[in-house]
Amino acid sequence: MSPDQALILAIAVPALGALGVVLAGRWPNLREAVTLVTGVILVLVVGTLLPVIMAGGRPGVVLIETLPGLPIALGAEPLGMLFALVASFLWVVTSVYSIGYMRAHHEQHQTRFYAAFAVAMASTMGVAFSANMFTLFLFYEALTISTYPLVTHAGTEEARRGGRVYLGILLTTSIVFQLLAIGWTYALTGTLDFTRGGVFPVGTPAMTIGILYALFVFGIGKAAVMPFHRWLPAAMVAPTPVSALLHAVAVVKAGVFTVLKVTIYLFGLETVTGSGANGWLLYVAAATIILASLVAMTKDNLKARLAYSTVSQLGYIVLGALLATPLGILGGSMHIAMHAFAKITLFFGAGAILVAAHKTEVSQLDGLGRRMPLTFAAFTIGSLSIIGVPPFAGMWSKWYLALATIDSGRWVLLAALLLSSLLNIAYLLVIPVRGFFREPKEDISHVEEAPTACVLAMSITSAACVGFFFFPDIFYYLAKLIFR
């Protein structure tokens, strides 16, 4: 298989998987087998690209040329590789988890669920491997639309309301800001190809660059930069596997990935810093980090708390991108991976608690840790990794982000990062502490550990949280390769 074919297959495999899921809809075991097999094939396909990228290859393939100068084209580079690897691997893990969760929870419309999930993954791969902004926009929108049935899966009025906020904010920002910025970029430069060093000619007015960059940062609503973050908590009405993979990994990371990609390959770091376009936006990102953490502290609902924690953590990556220094990009890119493993563990835990004990609020968790030790142990590991203490993987990305802020001399930003870590302890670590050390308020003797499939998935991701502390090389080198 040539790298070019692998690029196409990375999108075709999950798309065909969706078709397979629909066809196998009548036989649940076969249907889940299709999902798992598709996921494994996808990881292998993406995996074949890794040595090529590591060796310095940059495969690319043009699919069709819709408008002159606007081809739909795929291409692989280190950042996209990193994102695709994380997303495709975690899809397999989430599928294992979903099977336990969806069956234990007796969810309806499971065929639609798995099919939409596969389409969302195809779109995510498309985002990761887009060779130009037009193609990326295409898959970005496909991702929004394909996840709508997942968000509203429950079919209740509340789910529909959540779905409307979700779709409303994501489409509004992407159409009014992002598409405008894309059109404007094209009108100015005549190209949307991702190019090292950016596409803007020297001499483009700093004012124009500043407005365009802001349009991109806010237009990429999936990055959840305040004040356009409301869709993320609204999406929490979705079943937990959706929140886990899509709203901790694929969808939100597609957002911050796009911010990184635009910064590196559409504007170029020199253009961003040179024009001062990132100045005030950095403080918006810092404010997002702190404010979202503060909101998270007030939330008693477990998933809502995790959602705001995600908003805050996305702020880290956006901050890294906005610093527009190699160190910031390194920290931001690594945080895509590190946060993904930690946050998905937390969501898995929240779902396991829901399935096994039917609890949704933090205040109901007292003493549950003794009944569900594995779930709460995984939750502890995930929390510690997000807080960023050794020996957990989250430490590395935070370390490089902190270095980047010091390097840029913006002490306020460093202070924001450190303060946020403290807040993380206050709102995340308190959850397993309550579970393990508080006396239960009610009789919980009937509660048992979560289904095996759920525990298995959580074990894999929490092991990764530890493992990537000792072996962060793959993400480190990929992130380093961006500028080589």
Partner: protein, 491 residues
């Protein structure tokens, strides 16, 4: 081949009385379908010929222009002829089952007769190079479409048709007053001749007045905001295939007339630089886009919703065209083509719904997508095109419109176009959410998918929407050629 321009009009014209003479069974349908397909093929041949050899001039009856009537086909009207005949070729087969259900059986042959007359009229308007002959065809198509609309089974179709008749007649009258004034000034009715003679008298108040009358009259016909009030009722209460055909073609042809008059007859310089038409038309279209989109959002009937959306989409076309730049005119003309495809497809999908449940109210469609997945997939894809999602035809024209606005530095226009797309998202979503994401009520369990005879034409247009969203060489290419020749001087 040489007689192609005449045959394009004569064949459908002759088929109209034949349809009326046939008995009320499937024969008139068969004849109309055959003719519409034959005309489509001829339009394709004609377009290829024009692209190959340039403008074709055909002297009707051998009377040489400017004294006789001239049929003059350049890239622009070859393009519009293709749109009209293409939509005709898709809608006429659809009529077979759909009209069979929605129109009283004893009026079927009459229906096809009127349909072919409307068709002839629209083709005639487009092909002719004579402004009075254009008026004649305008009346043929208008009078027959009033009658067609009144065939709708809802009794409100009668008032809708009457309203359209009054407004349409005022429009036509304004137009003919303008034609009279031009004739008084120049003594000619031939477009090319007028384009040649008008600059020498363009300072005269008579010519200003003529322009005002013609723009106002044609504006009424194309449902330019705020003189669009006849359109929503007419489209809502007409029989389904009629709504599809008229919405996809009649307003487009009226837009063509405006373009022809402003760019060819009066000339770009006079229309847009001497006369302040750019700000007037852009302002009207912008306000129109927002007001009518919001109206669309508040509708309870899907057909009416699409009707209001049509007025908004006409706003996009006029906004692009009135920029009078190559990019702007390309955007307007491409949207003319693409909007015909998307509205045709959407109205046909609603025709399928009406065929099965006899209603197009959004509330009656709840959960219906589970019973009629193909129909509602068609509606969803057409809706995506209407919104302007990439890879559909609708995106292409909006993209060009945004580029055209940014080229002039009118970023506010680009923002407005995008913001209005959001309203389109909301109103399309209203239907999709009801049909796809609500449970099917018990009493609708026995509803079946629409018959193949309806689905095939609908899906042909869906595929066209997708095809022209991906391969734009042809649609944008022709629009671009036409735009260049319009801005470069005479036809």
């Amino acid at each position: 081949m040489e007689q192609l321009p005449a045959l394009l009009i004569v064949i459908p014209l002759m088929s109209a009385p034949l349809c009326a003479a046939l008995p009320n069974n499937r024969l008139p349908w068969l004849l109309a379908t055959t003719v519409s397909w034959a005309v489509f093929v001829m339009a394709v041949l004609l377009a290829l010929q024009v692209l190959d050899t340039g403008t074709i001039s055909y002297a009707m009856g051998g009377w040489q222009p400017p004294w006789g009537i001239e049929y003059r086909i350049d890239t622009l009207n070859a393009f519009v002829l293709l749109i009209v005949s293409g939509i005709g070729a898709a809608v006429t087969p659809f009529s077979g089952r759909s009209a069979g259900k929605e129109i009283p059986a004893d009026r079927l042959s009459l229906y096809y007769c009127l349909f072919m007359l409307t068709y002839t009229g629209l083709m005639g308007i487009t092909i002719t190079g004579d402004i009075f002959n254009l008026f004649v065809f305008l009346e043929i198509s208008s009078l027959s479409s009033y009658a067609l609309i009144s065939l709708g089974r809802d009794r409100r179709a009668l008032t809708a048709a009457y309203q359209y008749l009054i407004m349409g007649t005022i429009g036509a009258t304004f137009y003919i007053i303008g034609v009279g004034l031009l004739y008084a000034m120049t003594g000619t009715l031939n477009m090319a001749d007028l384009a040649h003679l008008l600059p020498s008298v363009s300072g005269a108040r008579t010519v200003h007045t003529a322009l005002a009358f013609i723009v106002a009259g044609v504006g009424l016909k194309l449902a330019l905001f705020p003189v669009h009030l006849w359109l929503p009722n007419a489209y809502t209460y007409a029989p389904s295939p009629v709504s599809a055909f008229i919405s996809a073609t009649a307003t487009k042809v009226a837009v063509y007339v405006l373009v022809r008059m402003l760019f060819t007859v009066f000339g770009v310089h006079y229309s847009f630089h001497v006369m302040p038409l750019t700000p007037i038309l852009v302002a009207l279209s912008l306000v129109g886009i927002f007001v009518t989109s919001l109206f669309a959002l508040s509708q309870l009937d899907a057909k009416r919703l699409l009707a209001y959306s049509s007025v908004a989409q006409i706003g996009y076309m006029i906004a692009g065209l009135s920029l009078a730049t190559t990019l702007g005119v390309t955007a307007g003309l491409t949207h003319l083509f693409n909007h015909a495809l998307m509205k045709g497809c959407l109205f046909l999908a609603l025709g399928c719904v009406a065929y099965r449940i006899g209603s197009t109210r959004i509330r009656d469609m709840e959960g219906l997508a589970h019973a009629m997945p193909w129909t509602f997939s068609a509606f969803a894809l057409g809706g995506l095109s209407l919104i302007g999602v990439p890879l559909t035809a609708g995106f292409v024209s909006k993209w060009y419109l945004i580029l055209a606005a940014l080229e002039l530095g009118w970023w506010w226009l680009a923002v407005a176009v995008l913001a209005a797309s959001l309203i389109a998202v909301a109103y399309v979503w209203k239907v999709i959410e009801a049909a796809w994401f609500r449970p099917l009520p018990e009493d609708r369990r026995d509803v079946r998918e629409a018959p193949l005879a309806l689905l095939v034409p609908t899906w042909a247009l869906v595929l066209a929407n997708l095809y022209f969203g991906i391969d734009t060489r042809w649609s944008v290419g022709m629009a671009q050629l036409a735009a260049k020749s319009l801005l470069g001087g005479g036809p």
